[in-house]
Amino acid sequence: MPYVIPDVVDVKQRKTDIGPPHYKNFLPPVIQKNYGNWKEHQILSPGLMVHIANSGDKIWTVRVASPRLLATDTLREIADIAEKYCDGYFRFTTRNNLEFLVSDESKVNPLIEELKAKKFVMGGIGSRVSNVVHTQGWIHCHSAAVDASGLVKCLMDEFIDYFTTKETPNKVRFAVACCTNMCGAVHCSDIAFVGIHTKVPRIEHERFKDLCELPTTMAACPTAAIIPDPAKKSIKIKEEKCMYCGNCYSVCPALPIKDPQNDGVAIVVGGKVGNLRTPPKFSKVAVAFLPNNPPRWPEVIKATKKIFDAYVAGAKKHERVGEWIQRIGWEKFFAVTGIPFTWQHVDDWTYAFETFRTTAQIKWVK
């Protein structure tokens, strides 16, 4: 398909509701031929796998890390490489990695060599750390309590060996969300990070009138902490009921909650989405607060390492982080990671009772 950008754009030429282009336009011929007829795959190295069709045809995939935030220059460079080795075909993964799709075996190694030369980082296939599902952060969102891309960079720098070479007991899925709206997959990830506030929103009564709707604002509060303030035509917040979630700010700009001194990062762990072995799991809080310390977030990285290393040391083969914790028990999780158990770990919201230990089954930890 020849793409055209006229010098002068006539906006009347715009069609609506045509939807995305058909995916077939972008599938390499070998995929079109063997679509739905794959037999198996082999992981040849952390950055290379081959899928073999029932017909005997093969397609090689070279996976490359991407920061997700890409400049057009980089995208063009990718396009060039793909043209050289892949007849122009490539894709991204659901976790923001880039995959070169090679139909001709003889081009696999040259591709890898060129990628190496150009400092692309290959890996992420198999039982290891892959790229991080994440969000906008300070790059683009008004709601961000922490940056996302920055934190991702620090994490992946730290765990890069587990992307490129080393194995983990099973895949380790990191995720980052810059606020509790959690546009990333934080609530069901092995180890995830979320920007949080720790102070009550400030009420700008004057702006409230113009910018916010009372019922929507009240309904946004998970704890019903918001009540009307009819005198001011604004609202009041019952401070003792506020969990600093920031959802009221999502619907009402007159309730800013961002706070450089008191915002921070929480680490949640043990979630997963796949149905293998154990059902999908929610992440649970491991560390309730760490300081928001750009550009390297050393506290967050250190704490993550404690969790990650304990998992790698303690988990059995195929155990995801949450499955490992489930087996050893949370009392052991806190013991082996050295993370203190605090008030914030104990639920006091909707399903609190379901999280209490209603059994005498306990492991003793020193």
């Binding site: 609506t16 899928h51 300070w138």
Partner: protein, 402 residues
């Protein structure tokens, strides 16, 4: 042409092995004033530990109610290049496949009209084009549409459906995830582009219970491929795994949640009637085991992020649905479900939240379904429940108490 900023904090993030988003911004900044100011602003955020974006404003393309996230900067005077810095969501091709040609086209558009910065992809699945100004939006929309691309979803609308790579490059895909995604996207163009729901509605499709697109956690409607036939076993290949050092007992038998696999050191046996269709054995003995037809999908509803009632995972509505083009059954279900939701849902109430508020019965009756045990992990606990007129008519117990 572009402004230069000292960015000592961000420079720090150009070090280290993982590809740097800072380097990306700098690349764009070198030739694009918007990108340059984005860099400067970001450095300031890093220094001050705070975001400088304003709460979104409403901007868009004519005829569309969404697809653009309006964004203005709090420090417009200091960083005029990002005074407006809207995001354009372009509906990705299903499966996230591209050609170099298509990618260059996208780059050309974005170099011309935007900051030169992108995300491949947003969490929902869209191509995210970061940073443009209101005046450019019509042109952007036009050029994309002239070339076969369209805007993605935003606001209280159907959101851009997405899927795993599925049959395009995975041996386990039991449904055509790309085709389903493409077809549903086309079917619901109006709902996607003209927000008319109480809140967002996301659809994610995956080819099997491995769920490589987090469908069960991040979609109001989760379509998860599954199978009804027995698992076919290639005993030789199983033995091969054992020979190569796999501990079949530990890694396969003991981890099977259905407790339905046995291994005598030579033969693997699966009691398929106890299989929970979890995919562990099939993926870990890749190539040796194979699910067999009938193929179809489990349809689940309701997952979302924490607000307001806490994060949810989707739950089963149809244990098994055939997924054959033109997918009338699922389309019909989506229509009925969203109609019911649009009628009863409050502003900013996701469909799952509405079901939790009104009860599964209201929902299931509205979409014409009966309850089945597959919908629940376990039946309810405390012994009080609603009865509707007629539930006990005709003494229903007589028929099964024979």
């Amino acid at each position: 042409m572009t402004k230069k900023y000292d960015t000592p904090l961000l420079d720090e993030l150009e070090k280290g092995p993982f590809p740097s988003f800072v380097t990306e911004i700098k690349k764009a900044a070198a030739k694009n004033a918007m990108a340059a100011d984005e860099l400067g602003l970001l450095e300031k955020s890093f220094r001050d530990k705070v975001t400088y974006w304003k709460h979104g404003g409403i901007v868009g393309v004519r005829g569309y109610g969404g697809g653009v996230i309006g964004r203005y900067c709090e420090l417009a005077e200091q960083f005029p290049g990002v005074a407006h810095f809207h995001t354009v969501r372009i509906n990705q091709p299903a499966g996230l496949f591209y050609t170099s040609e298509a990618m260059r086209f996208i780059c050309d558009v974005w170099d011309r009209y935007g900051s030169g910065l992108t995300n491949f992809h947003g969490s929902t699945g869209d191509i995210i084009l970061l940073g443009t100004v209101t005046e450019n939006l019509e042109a952007i929309g036009t050029v994309f549409s002239m070339n076969g691309f369209d805007l993605g979803g935003s606001g209280s609308a159907m959101r851009t459906p997405s899927c795993c790579v599925g049959p395009a490059r995975c041996e386990w895909s039991m449904i055509d995830t790309l085709d389903i995604t493409y077809d549903l996207t086309q079917e619901f163009q109006d709902e996607l582009h003209r927000p008319s729901f109480p809140y967002k509605f996301k659809i994610k499709t995956v080819g099997c219970p491995v769920d490589c697109n987090a469908a069960i956690a991040r979609a109001d409607l989760s379509i998860i491929g599954t199978w009804k036939g027995p698992i076919e076993i290639d005993q030789d290949r199983v033995r091969d795994y054992a020979k190569k050092g796999m501990n079949i007992q530990e890694e396969i038998v003991n981890l099977c949640p259905g407790k339905c696999i046995t291994w005598d050191g030579n033969n693997l046996a699966i009691n398929n009637s106890d299989c929970l269709h979890c995919m562990n054995c099939i993926t870990k003995l890749s190539g040796a085991l194979k699910p067999t037809p009938p193929f179809g999908a489990t349809i689940l509803i309701g997952s979302k992020a924490p607000f307001v009632i806490g994060a949810t995972l989707s739950w089963v509505i149809f244990p098994f649905m055939e997924m054959k083009s033109p997918y009338e059954e699922i389309k019909d279900f989506i229509r009925k479900a969203t109609e019911w939701w649009s009628e009863y849902g409050k502003n900013r109430e996701r469909i799952g939240e509405l079901i939790l508020r009104l009860g599964m019965r209201e929902f299931l009756e509205a979409v014409g379904l009966q309850p089945t045990p597959e919908m629940v992990k376990e039946p309810r606990r405390d012994p009080f429940w609603f009865w509707k007129e007629g539930d006990l008519e005709g003494k229903p117990w007589e028929s099964w108490l024979k």
